[in-house]
């Protein structure tokens, strides 16, 4: 067999900034968050899609039932934050690989950064401000709320 040969790699892109260990932290984070996400996401998929009636069971009352427990709130929050940072950092690697024109790259990195922050803030607000028993203008329970709302009122 002929010896394998590696051609000259592309010139390294220099950011010009002092972030000596940034890529090392990025590399480490991808591995730790990935391992944790595996447990978080597979449990999430199993509970939502495999137990009970699978997708058919998912509605407002199902979500309210899950978020009645602090465990699922913390679970979903952790999953949201880790997945967005892991996925966002992964997308950053892709932008650095494929967007060669500096202005395009800068634009895409900003767009990505904004998307990641907006989705984390939106998702966290939803988890923290969730109301399982919303009322209409006249003070009655809206339809579609879980059964336990009647006992609470």
């Amino acid at each position: 067999m002929t010896a394998p040969e590696l051609s000259t790699p592309r010139e390294r892109i220099r950011s010009g900034r002092m972030r000596r260990n940034a890529e090392r932290w990025s590399w480490l984070f991808m591995r730790f968050s990935g391992a944790l996400l595996l447990v978080l996401i597979f449990t999430h998929l199993f509970v939502n899609l495999m137990t009970g009636d699978g997708v058919q069971q998912i509605d407002f009352a199902f979500v309210a039932g899950k978020w009645a427990s602090p465990l699922w709130k913390v679970w979903d929050l952790l999953m949201l934050v880790l997945a967005m940072i892991h996925g966002g950092n992964g997308m950053r690697l892709l932008i650095n690989d494929y967007a060669h024109r500096p202005r395009v790259r800068t634009f895409l990195l900003w767009l990505l950064g904004i998307a990641v922050v907006v989705v984390i803030v939106l998702g966290s607000l939803v988890i923290f401000t969730f109301d399982p028993c919303p009322l209409d203008a006249s003070g009655d329970l809206l339809s579609g709320v879980p059964d336990f709302c009647k006992d609470v009122r």
């Binding site: 002929t2 394998p4 040969e5 590696l6 051609s7 591995r31 990935g34 391992a35 996400l37 595996l38 996401i41 597979f42 998929l45 899609l49 495999m50 009636d53 699978g54 997708v55 058919q56 998912i58 509605d59 407002f60 009352a61 979500v63 309210a64 949201l80 997945a83 967005m84 996925g87 966002g88 992964g90 997308m91 892709l94 998307a115 989705v119 939106l122 998702g123 607000l125 939803v126 401000t129 969730f130 109301d131 919303p134 809206l142 339809s143 579609g144 709320v145």
Partner: protein
């Protein structure tokens, strides 16, 4: 001029790299949509239920199956990447590990798909 052959090009590692990138990007864009649809629980139960009901239709049921497939591949290939980076044993057996990812994928999909398709197409 055709590129010189390397240890990497055209072998398992290259295809798994491509699978990892493609699935990672697909999951990322799905997550943007998924957080937004879940946010509808803050609008009203009706608004949320209406959108989620469309996820129970055959078309979306199949898309969901594709997403679960993407996540299984990305997750276990992610474990393979971590293993190969950290252990010489895994590095030595990296080809077998690439195939192990596909075996795990087939086994988990065999457990998930029939049940999911029954939920989607079983009528209810």
């Amino acid at each position: 001029m055709t590129p010189a052959p390397t240890l990497y090009r055209g072998h398992e590692g290259m295809w798994m790299w491509l699978v990892h990138r493609a699935t990672g990007v697909a999951i990322f864009f799905f997550l943007l949509i998924h957080v937004t649809d879940t946010a509808l629980v803050r609008v009203s139960p009706e608004a949320y239920n209406e959108v989620i009901d469309s996820y129970k239709t055959p078309i979306y049921g199949l898309i969901e199956a594709g997403l679960v497939a993407a996540i299984i591949l990305h997750a276990f290939n992610g474990l393979r990447i971590i293993a190969v980076d950290n252990s010489t044993w895994a590095l030595r057996h990296q080809r077998k590990l690439a195939w192990a990812v596909w075996v795990i994928f087939v086994v988990l999909m065999a457990g998930f798909l029939p049940r999911h398709l029954m939920h989607v197409f079983g009528g209810a």
